[in-house]
């Protein structure tokens, strides 16, 4: 059976949950194999094996991380040439999508982005996409080259399928100085201790109806008591109430958590495009005509300043 390559991503040395989801999808399509950029310690190899990777390609050259995107393309293309895989899976996201895009050009292979599901099909993987701002669903296939597929986080729950991976080191020529974009300054943000927005199982979001930056305090409290991430609508980020890196919607992040709580968000189409794939939606809004109620599984017409704090207390009580 042909291998299916998964581009592994790590945050502070720990594999992202989204990578484990890709391995789960890869098992439907062939033999899962991971590509690791940078040195791979025992724990990385161990977790990849636990989730079904039968082979791990390691590109250990530290230069793989010195520049953005391009060296990872070099690494991934080298792994594709070595493995001749049935498909390449990459997590959707700023860098992942660009690595996939450049890889597709280099291989002259078709690319399908933003998969919400991938299944085995006649003539190659069948990719399900949510299109037209999430109002349509489409099935697409790659018909030329090695299929390159980017998959949204939370498309499937990660499953364990223990394997003993064979570790193979690759040493491709990496593009160094030029054409390189380099990070010249990096101002880390305070760690919130919350999960990454796109990976989170629970997302609590605030919108214009929150009324102020201070009011996001209770959004954070609810996120924390539910173990979730905080998000905001574009209206709220444009008003400076919350960082726009937490914006959900067409020009922000697309999320699909188990639970999405929308506080003071009316639910314009641009916002819905980023969250209507959520499993369960709870909405609290003053305006009974707000479009968010049309897609919410449970809606409360009421004052967010009263309902959200009460919900923090109520959830806290029931968890105790």
């Amino acid at each position: 059976m042909a291998e299916v390559l998964v581009l592994a991503e790590r945050t502070d040395g720990v594999l992202r949950k989204a990578t484990l989801e890709l391995l789960t999808i890869a098992r439907r399509l062939g033999e899962p194999a991971a590509v690791v950029c940078g040195a791979a310690d025992e724990s990385t190899i161990g977790v990849l094996g636990e989730h079904g990777a039968t082979r791990v390609y390691v590109v250990a050259d530290p230069a793989v991380d010195e520049h953005l995107v391009v060296p990872k393309v070099d690494a991934l293309v080298a792994a594709v040439r070595r493995a001749q895989p049935a498909a390449v899976l990459v997590t959707s996201g700023a860098e992942g999508t660009e690595v996939a895009a450049r890889t597709a050009v280099r291989l002259d292979s078709g690319i399908v982005t933003g998969a919400v599901d991938v299944t085995s099909g006649d003539g190659g993987p069948l990719v399900t996409q949510s299109v037209f701002s999430g109002t349509w669903t489409a099935q697409a296939q790659v018909v030329r080259g090695t299929p390159v597929i980017t998959v949204r986080p939370n498309a499937v729950p990660p499953e364990t399928a223990p394997a003993q991976p064979v570790v193979e080191t690759l040493d491709p020529e990496l593009t160094r100085a030029s054409p390189g974009a380099r990070v010249t300054r990096r101002a880390p943000k305070d760690r919130t201790g919350r999960p990454d927005l796109v990976d989170a199982a629970v997302v609590v979001a605030g919108g214009r109806g929150m009324g102020s930056a201070e009011a996001f305090g209770v959004v954070e409290e609810l996120a924390d008591v539910l173990g979730g991430a905080v998000a905001a609508s574009r209206a709220a980020t444009d008003l400076g109430w919350y960082g726009h890196e937490f914006q959900v919607g067409q020009t922000g992040k697309t999320v699909a958590p188990q639970l999405y709580v929308a506080g003071g968000i009316s639910g314009a189409i641009q916002h819905r495009a980023g969250m209507q794939g959520s499993r369960t939606i709870v909405a609290i809004n003053q305006d009974p005509k707000a479009p968010i109620f049309g897609i919410a599984d449970f809606g409360v017409v009421g004052d967010v300043h009263a309902v959200l704090p009460a919900l923090v207390t109520e959830v806290g009580k029931r968890k105790a």
Binding site: L68, V69, A94, E98, A100, A101, R102, A104, V105, S109, G110, I111, T113, G114, V131, G134, W136, T137, A138, Q139, A140, Q141, V142, V143, S178, P179, G180, A181, R182, T184, R185, R186, A187, K189, R191, E245, F246, T251, Q258, L259, I269, Q276, T280, V282, P288, G294, I295, A296, F298, G299, V300, V301, G302, D303, V307, A310, T313, E314, V315, R318
Partner: protein, 259 residues
């Protein structure tokens, strides 16, 4: 210095979109416009020049005759001239083919800086800037929230969840900008009239040395097999808060095993 801004003519976001019989987005039935996310790229290019950068701005689009409207809108906002790649054979082109045609056109125009929007508002793939950079053999700095050009480099600021980064690349380079770069201007009547007088050149595939079999539906490396509108999400229970809403939400979460 030469700045090129690739722009896309897309269906109005408020229109009712559907697939045509050949499983491409039906563009004939709906009004179109310059993609809102490309307006930010136009604005940033125009601002660079207004703020003293010695550069010309050329807009580039590929698409049917009506796509020229997108170029006219951009030219009304500022800039010098535009190129419209128009060819029957382009219908149904995928991202690979689109990037091939745009890259050939960009090479032919000549460039120091390519400024793109972060994504189209129709296909929403966000892959063309990276593909252009790959084909042109230059660096890419994408999802810029702010950008500056000087000393043969382009510098951007990018806001991530864990850090704010400053990223620098040598020119020539490809940049993409987000909606955080600032409101796009609304052209005055006078600017619209001036825009109508700016030169727009039309090229066919033959002008770019691209063969018809490399593009369009038949040249696509991807194929849509089926498409259907999603059944609208069913509205669930809606209650009016009478002081008990928090408890009722918690009950609901317990029933759904979310708590």
């Amino acid at each position: 210095m030469k700045i090129i801004v690739p722009v896309k003519y897309v269906p109005e976001p408020t229109a009712r979109w559907r697939y045509a019989d050949d499983l491409t987005l039906d563009r004939a039935q709906v009004d179109g416009r310059l993609s809102e996310l490309d307006e930010y790229a136009v604005e940033q290019a125009v601002l660079l020049v207004e703020n003293g950068l010695d550069a010309t701005i050329t807009y580039l689009t590929m698409g049917p005759a009506k796509a020229a409207d997108a170029l006219r809108k951009a030219l009304a906002m500022g800039g010098d001239d535009a190129v419209h790649v128009s060819d029957e054979a382009l219908h149904g082109s995928d991202a690979l083919a689109t990037s091939l045609v745009l890259a050939r056109a960009i090479e032919r125009i000549g460039f120091d800086l390519v400024v793109c929007g972060m994504s189209s508002t129709d296909a929403e793939m966000s892959v063309v800037p990276a593909m252009l950079a790959e084909r042109l053999g230059v660096p890419q700095v994408t999802f810029a929230g702010a950008l500056a050009v000087g000393d043969g480099t382009v510098t951007i600021r990018r806001d991530g969840e864990t850090a704010t980064e400053e990223v620098v690349a040598d020119l020539p380079a490809v940049v993409s900008v987000t909606d955080q770069t600032g409101e796009a201007r609304y052209p005055s009547f006078k600017a619209i009239m001036a825009g109508k007088k700016k030169p727009v050149t039309t090229w066919t595939l033959a002008d770019l040395g691209v063969e018809a079999f490399e593009v369009g539906l038949s040249g696509a490396a991807t194929a849509v097999r089926s498409a259907a509108p999603l059944p609208p999400r069913q509205a669930g229970t809606v209650v009016v808060d009478e002081g008990d809403a928090a408890a009722r939400v918690a009950d609901f979460l317990v029933a759904r095993k979310l708590l």
